[in-house]
Symmetry: C2
Subunit: 285 residues, 2 copies
């Protein structure tokens, strides 16, 4: 909820902006609704089960998908935090420990809500996540774990950038932890820190926003990245975001992206994950 409240977050719903078909309060309701699943994760439930429950709760509002990708990052992080090791190694232990049943629950989660995703790998059409629970038998036959599913998404054969959230899963959540450090080193109210973390991640050399690339193509996603750099985004910088990023300039960018229907939703997922880590490490609200 801190993520969606942070403003400006160019192209996304935030405290000051709704999209035509998705409103701020639907994110609040989605966030509250996901709580039960997240609490299960904190209590040690399997990643797939906790995720499916969180998505089920999230979808009890009329806006559709609000936090699917965000929950995909949060659930293993919550598990890692509950196990006392909220670090790249700790969360990697969690995701590498996922099973075929976790994968089956992941597919079931797609029954609750329509999610914008790319095409499946050419050699695994039966693993298209859009099949939802209908793909569970294929998951079992192929014996793929949830970690395997994420690896397949990263290695997608269609030349696209793969799924940004899946890439976090299989590489120790580097964007999440780097952004969490940056939020911790930043100054001022947490919602301003969230907004600056968003601009930083949007400017990331290592990753184009998956949702923008899926909806508008990689050229547009690169243009979005370039614009984020113009307002000061630079996730590799050692200078604190408050010294670099001009939120007034980002405000103008927000108006422009909204007008063009550019919606960097995957970047918002990473900000939400980073905020969780930053709160666990002592950033206060």
């Amino acid at each position: 909820m801190l993520e969606v409240a942070g403003t400006p977050k160019p192209g996304n719903v935030d405290r000051r902006r709704d999209l035509d078909d998705l409103r701020f309060e639907q994110f609040l309701a989605g966030g509250v609704g996901s709580g039960r699943g997240l609490r299960r994760a904190a209590g040690g439930a399997p990643v797939g089960e906790a995720f499916e429950r969180a998505v089920d709760g999230m979808s009890q509002q009329s806006g559709g998908n609000t936090q699917f990708g965000c929950l995909l990052l949060l659930v293993p992080l919550v598990r890692a935090a509950a196990a006392g090791d909220l670090s790249p190694a700790g969360v990697t232990d969690v995701v590498e420990g996922t099973t075929v049943e976790d994968a089956a629950d992941f597919y079931r989660a797609f029954d609750h809500v329509a999610v914008a995703v790319g095409d499946p790998p050419a050699d695994a059409p039966d693993l298209d996540v859009r099949h939802g629970s209908d793909a569970v038998s294929a998951v079992r036959e192929r014996g793929v774990t949830l970690y395997d599913v994420m690896e397949l998404a990263v290695e997608r054969g269609d030349g696209s950038s793969g799924d940004g959230n899946a890439r976090e899963w299989v590489s120790g959540f580097p964007r999440t932890f780097r952004a969490a450090e940056s939020i911790g080193a930043d100054e001022g109210p947490v919602l301003d820190r969230a907004a600056r973390a968003f601009v930083d991640l949007l400017a990331d050399d290592a990753e184009l926003d998956t949702l923008v690339a899926t909806q508008h193509g990689p050229e547009r996603a690169r243009e979005v990245r370039r614009r984020a750099r113009e307002v000061g985004g630079d996730p590799q910088s050692t200078e604190p975001p408050v010294e670099r990023i001009d939120l007034d300039a980002a405000e103008a960018l927000a108006e422009e992206f909204a007008a063009d229907g550019v919606n960097p939703g995957t970047t918002a997922d990473a900000v939400a994950a980073a905020l969780f880590v930053a709160l666990e490490r002592g950033v206060t609200v």
Copy 2:
């Protein structure tokens, strides 16, 4: 959280406005933090215990009191809903059934957070809520239930209007249920409905905002009511709020109240309670 997100809510924190010392995200954190206590209420825990737990969770942010009064209304309503009778009679059963132990837990809740309240009754200085848990022995000696405490607040001997939330408790929550009906009969996104319900309650003949009266005196509270009427507030009207209330005019009022430090917080409590009832009755997000 829908209450605090509704905008404009003249004089209060909302989606578009912070106060100098109290920010929007602190209400979000307070709302999430209160969830554990509210879930206890839904599970049938005593009103005082559930309230004290909710306030404890609410206070785990750095802004101080965000939803104390709101929770005082919500806890018995949640209990009544869980018991299958969310009505004036149902919630009256709940509050009339409160005990001395509920009163003791209510006093303990004041240990968690500073709350703006009026003076205690002249003949019961030992029941000053500001004593927090130090007043528990006096509560036990006098044998007052939580319902009795609310009656004492209403019958306050200092000539002020008493506490608006206490008055709801001892009279079947009339403002809450009337506003819930109005929200149900209104049109458009729930945050707009919340904003219009706020203007209506602020214009109520039957009740001045307790927090404004406590902080600025009853004259100022009457002026606030008059201004709410000017922008269309009229809780007795049978015309739907969307037909009467001009949210653009309320926006100007919001700027003015904010500049003057007028903060009708008790009216916001009633809106939050009314939103809960409206959601339970089928209004969707």
